[in-house]
């Protein structure tokens, strides 16, 4: 498959698990930066790290932070870049990218045991949600020390795969079979609403992999998970999730893919095709990536708009918050791809 001029693949010679845009500052001499969680497939899990890559030459990292095991979550805030690992630890790299100044919370009985896939920054505090069923709030990175406070210990009865803040006092989590939960800190740090998703018809249940919440519509979660499922959950109608894509739905939505949806994000670049109703209940366009190599934009009651159809899985992607036309994705075959969307491409739609 020949690369179109708007899409570039950059081989990295190590497996890329996650990739994110870093907030670019005008002072940065090397231009726009990416953060990628990589591991060496030949050396086992020990050789994992976070690389800072310049967009101009992603093959040569500017800085690197070694991790004790493979990264399972990667997020950045204006102050720091945070990575959680499959051994339950959490690592912060300050925005100066000085790896000596990195701080971490070690994995184990005091924090998380096993992979932590839910990680998000809510301004002051970070939330972590692990497969061990624990939810922590981590904060206080200002004085160089990080403090983790346990919000909930599910004792393994449920495991979490995703977490996302809606507001400084509310966040959503999702996991294996348990759908999505809405937590409210004002109501005793407890789950106040629960949604089992739209799985059904032969597929008993599914796993949530990713949740996104639009900053301007904090009552709506968009959720990506097993079997090509993407649905929106509106807290105002908690019992009626809105399907956006999925296998086996009766005609309401065409599946964008049939395999695992690894990540979903609201796509601020794609204009909703129905501009007048954009203030109404209609769900805003959502970008997704999947195990079968699809990067697409899905909209309620619309055909999915495919941006990429790769031969290998797309494990992770990120839309540049400052230039939403640019998308970076982590490809299974040890490379990252950078997609630049132009006005022309959108006009065709």
């Amino acid at each position: 498959m020949a690369d179109s001029p708007s899409f570039r693949r950059h081989p990295l010679a190590s497996s890329v698990d996650l990739v994110r845009w870093l907030p670019s500052s005008s002072t940065s001499p090397s231009g726009r930066l990416l953060a990628a969680a990589v591991h060496d497939p030949t050396s086992g899990p020990a050789a994992s790290s976070i690389h800072l890559l310049p967009l101009s030459d992603p093959g040569s990292p500017l800085a690197s932070l070694p991790l004790p095991s493979r990264a399972t979550a990667l997020r950045c805030s204006p102050a720091a870049l945070a990575a959680a690992t499959s051994s339950g630890s959490l690592h912060f790299l300050p925005s100066s990218f000085d790896s000596d100044a990195a701080v971490s919370v070690p994995g184990g009985a005091g924090f998380h045991v096993g992979p932590v896939r839910g990680l998000d920054c809510g301004g002051e505090e970070w939330v972590t949600a692990g497969e061990d069923g624990r939810v922590h709030l981590v904060g206080g990175a200002a004085d160089g020390r990080v403090v983790a406070r346990r919000l909930w210990d599910g004792k393994g009865m449920s495991g979490y795969e995703a977490a996302r803040w809606a507001s400084p006092v509310e966040f959503a989590t999702g996991g294996a079979g348990c759908g999505v939960q809405w937590w409210d800190r004002r109501k005793g740090d407890a789950v106040v609403a629960q949604c089992n998703g739209i799985w059904g018809r032969g597929i008993v249940t599914g796993m949530v992999h990713s949740i996104d919440i639009h900053p301007s519509r904090k009552h709506i979660c968009v959720v990506g998970g097993s079997s090509g499922t993407i649905f929106a959950w509106d807290l105002r109608w908690p019992q009626q999730p809105i399907p956006l894509s999925g296998v086996g739905l009766n005609g309401t939505a065409e599946p964008a893919c049939e395999s695992e949806v690894w990540e979903v994000l609201f796509d601020t670049y794609t204009q909703s095709s129905d501009i007048i109703s954009s203030a109404s209940a209609r769900i805003l366009p959502v970008m997704m990536c999947s195990e079968d190599g699809i990067l697409a934009v899905v909209e309620q009651d619309e055909r999915p708009f495919e941006l990429l159809a790769e031969a290998c899985a797309i494990n992770s992607f990120d839309i540049d918050p400052q230039n939403p036309s640019d998308v970076v994705c982590a490809l299974e075959w040890e490379s990252i791809g950078v997609l630049t969307r132009g006005r022309d491409a959108m006009a065709e739609e």
Partner: protein, 762 residues
């Protein structure tokens, strides 16, 4: 050999004796890795097994009761890890070893091209069966598909052309470019000989081109045209008068003999007579140099076109070429006999230029002197002696002759491959590929060999009984897929194959060095296995079942492969294994999730019993919060929850009971009884839970004066109790640690309730 205990020998402390194959002319030295195990001899046993990635675990043990130093503490044994990926000492190849990351890039990149070609093959085969025409695909079309495939793969292997925009020093003889790899050289060679039918008529010129790209790979030890020129290049900076240096003329004749005309012309312009201050004194000399340069640059070549920057005049057809050739040769001869040579004062120039003319005239002695490697001599024959050499037989005879003339040049993988191709012996070609270039090349090059060669087609696709009913093609794909997934199991699986099938004189054992290219990557192996009709799916199942299940994402990736290849039974097993793993490690929710996905009622029932005991002991509202997530996961309407379905109702019952006992309110008590009746009626409630349920309710039944149940309900419960009393006589009855009088106290409570119900009945 993995998994096999080896007996150490006494010889020089070597752990495993290695005997090279004496039959081979020049066996490549085996890569030797010293291991510091720290165990004093005698070593009794050695175990070797694969760890993750490229790590090999070697365990060295002393005899169990060795009468050692009597009291001195000595190691009884030790386990060391050896990383086969860190290069090692295997630098015997002439090429720069392709590093692992680069090799993986090639492996990934070749998957789509391979898959596309296979699907085209299948489409053509289907079309052939549909229309009942002979099943041989349309060759005219087919080789073009293969050529497209070959070009795609070739691009992956690197581009030998120099970058377009490059400012070069005029004194640069050899252009700076990407370092060629012998993998690419081998691939291109196969493409030239087996696939590209367009250019079949210009085969000799294509070989000359190939040599100009890959001459540097022929030998690192012995001299080649390339090495001569690069040595001269280094010397050039310090040379005042180039034409006085014999290496200048040697380089010129070498470059001319293999047809690197642009380099020859460029080098001739270094000649001192071109310098402005000498122009006047050396006018004749300069004229002769320029005349030779013109002749070199106008040499006729039997080929359709020339890449930019290359010299010569192209002749597409034979008659055109013969005409041009005769004219050109005439000019060369005329210059050779010219009277101007006497006026040329510089003896070395005169001699050197004449030598160049003799090369152009096809003088065998001069050609033999100018070239170093037999392949270079071979190419020079095409250029100057036999431009019309066609047919493999003629080429092969010529190659033999050249080898006799240049016996010292030896052979390496590439020359062995060329000889195999020229001798039209597909077996030898395959063996050379296997031996020198590894399983990636063999697997992918198989398509090139069979593109338009019926013999190879039959030879490679014939199902052989001694291979267990598979063809050579399938065998190599299986081997490659296993190398991709380098795994202890697959390695053992493959060893008997190698020992068994390869005739010793043709195929050597899989060199261990291959494994340095291996890593655990199951995601691309299925593409190759799915094209193996006989054993591919079986092996795929084994590989999938061996994938790690600790990580949910990896499990999902494996399940995705199962979905693509419709291996439902395999995915069910994987889900069950994952379920048990997570359950064992305390992640009960995830465990239950996988069991549900696998529709494993047996495991879910067993889990239900465990959970019941857990729940039964702690009924406070607080602990229920933890169960909430799990119970939510089970859902009330999900049929596949198996025995766990009842937990949901049990949770409601317990909670309600708690409320009823706390608040002593009639409504809550009534609701609790409703839950109890539902539970007792429901067939999914296992019998062993009946008694605890009833026993839990005793306090409630006894606490009220008015009857909580009507006659029919009470009778139902009494009947269940009766059933239990019968079952109690069975040996496998378990009483759930309830007091021995449990049954009687339940019976008493029910009886009094019944009495009150009868009395209360209007």
């Amino acid at each position: 050999m993995p998994g096999m205990p080896g007996m150490p020998t006494d010889g020089g402390g070597a752990i495993v004796p290695f005997t090279g194959e004496p039959a081979q002319a020049a066996p490549p030295p085996p890569p030797v890795r010293p291991i510091r195990h720290g165990v004093a001899p005698p070593i009794f046993r050695i175990y070797v097994s694969w760890s993750s990635g490229n790590l090999l675990q070697v365990a060295c043990l002393r005899p169990p009761n060795s009468e050692g130093g009597g009291g001195t503490e000595e190691l009884v044994g030790s386990v060391v890890e050896v990383n086969l990926g860190d290069g090692g000492s295997g630098g015997s190849e002439a090429e720069e070893k392709i590093d692992e990351g680069e090799m993986r890039r090639i492996e990934y990149g070749s998957v789509p091209a391979f898959a596309l070609l296979q699907s085209r093959k299948n489409t053509l085969a289907d079309a052939a069966t549909m229309s009942h025409v002979p099943s041989v695909p349309d060759h005219a079309e087919w080789w073009q598909y293969v050529l497209e495939y070959s070009k795609t793969i070739g691009n992956l292997l690197g581009n030998p052309d120099p970058p377009v925009f490059m400012i070069e020093d005029p004194k640069t003889i050899l252009k700076v470019r990407e370092k060629p790899t012998s993998l690419r050289a081998a691939w291109e060679l196969l493409e030239i000989f087996y696939v590209d039918k367009h250019l079949q008529g210009w085969l000799p010129e294509r070989l000359v081109d190939w040599l100009s790209d890959f001459d540097s790979l022929l030998s690192t030890m012995a001299s080649t045209v390339y090495s001569k020129l690069s040595n001269f290049q280094k010397k050039l900076i310090n040379l005042q008068i180039v034409e006085d240096d014999p290496d200048y003329w040697n380089g010129l004749s070498a470059a001319l003999s293999v047809g690197w005309l642009d380099i020859v012309v460029n080098m001739l312009r270094f000649h001192g007579s071109y310098q402005l201050d000498q122009m006047d004194n050396r006018e004749t000399e300069n004229g002769l140099v320029e005349a030779v340069a013109v002749l070199v640059s106008t040499m006729p070549r039997l080929r359709p076109n020339l890449p930019t920057g290359k010299l010569g005049q192209c002749c597409k057809t034979r008659p055109d070429f013969i005409k041009a050739w005769e004219k050109w040769r005439g000019q060369v001869t005329k210059l050779e006999c010219s009277a101007f040579w006497i006026q040329c004062g510089h003896q070395k120039t005169r001699y050197g230029l004449k030598n160049l003319l003799h090369i152009m005239m096809g003088n065998i002695n001069e050609l033999t002197d100018a070239t170093s490697h037999w392949l270079e001599l071979f190419a020079s024959h095409f250029l100057y002696i036999k431009p019309f050499t066609v047919g493999f037989e003629g080429m092969h005879l010529l190659a033999q002759k050249c080898i006799q003339l240049k016996p010292s040049s030896g052979t390496n993988g590439l020359t062995g491959l060329i000889l195999g191709v020229l001798s039209e012996n597909t077996e030898v070609v395959l063996a050379e590929c296997t031996k020198n270039f590894g399983p990636w090349l063999v697997t992918h090059a198989m398509e090139l060999l069979t593109a338009d060669n019926d013999y190879a087609d039959v030879m490679l696709h014939e199902e052989r009984l001694n291979f267990g009913g598979i063809s050579i093609e399938e065998l190599h794909r299986l081997v490659y897929a296993q190398v991709l997934c380098s795994h202890s199991l697959t390695w053992q699986f493959l060893m008997p194959f190698c020992l068994f099938i390869f005739p010793r004189d043709l195929f050597s054992l899989l060199p261990l060095g291959w494994l340095t290219e291996a890593w655990i990557h199951p995601m691309i192996a299925p593409t190759y296995l799915s094209s193996c009709l006989n054993q591919g799916l079986g092996l795929l199942e084994i590989l999938l079942l061996k994938q790690p299940i600790q990580d949910n994402c990896l499990v999902l990736k494996t399940l995705e492969i199962c979905r693509l290849y419709e291996l439902e039974n395999v995915s069910t097993i994987i889900m069950k294994i994952a379920g048990i793993y997570h359950w064992k490690h305390g992640r009960k929710g995830t465990g239950v999730y996988w069991f549900q996905q696998a529709h494993d009622k047996v495991c879910l029932d067993r889990i239900a019993q465990q959970l019941f005991e857990h729940i039964g002991k702690s009924v406070t509202d607080d602990s229920f919060k933890q169960w909430e997530g799990l119970l939510e996961l089970l859902g009330s309407d999900i049929g596949s929850a198996g025995g766990l379905e009842f937990l949901h109702r049990y949770r409601d019952f317990k909670r309600s009971l708690q409320q009823a006992l706390d608040r002593r309110c009639g409504e809550a008590a009534r609701q609790t009884v409703d839950f109890l009746i539902q539970l007792m009626k429901n067939p999914s409630t296992p019998q062993r839970f009946w008694l605890p349920l009833l026993h839990d309710s005793v306090e409630l039944l006894n606490s009220k004066l008015s009857p909580l149940m009507n006659v029919a309900e009470t009778t139902l419960l009494l009947n269940k109790l009766q059933e239990l009393s019968m079952a109690k006589r069975c040996p496998d009855f378990s009483s759930n640690h309830l007091p021995s009088h449990a049954i009687s106290s339940v019976r008493l409570a029910l009886a009094s309730n019944l009495a009150r119900a009868i009395l209360g009945d209007p």
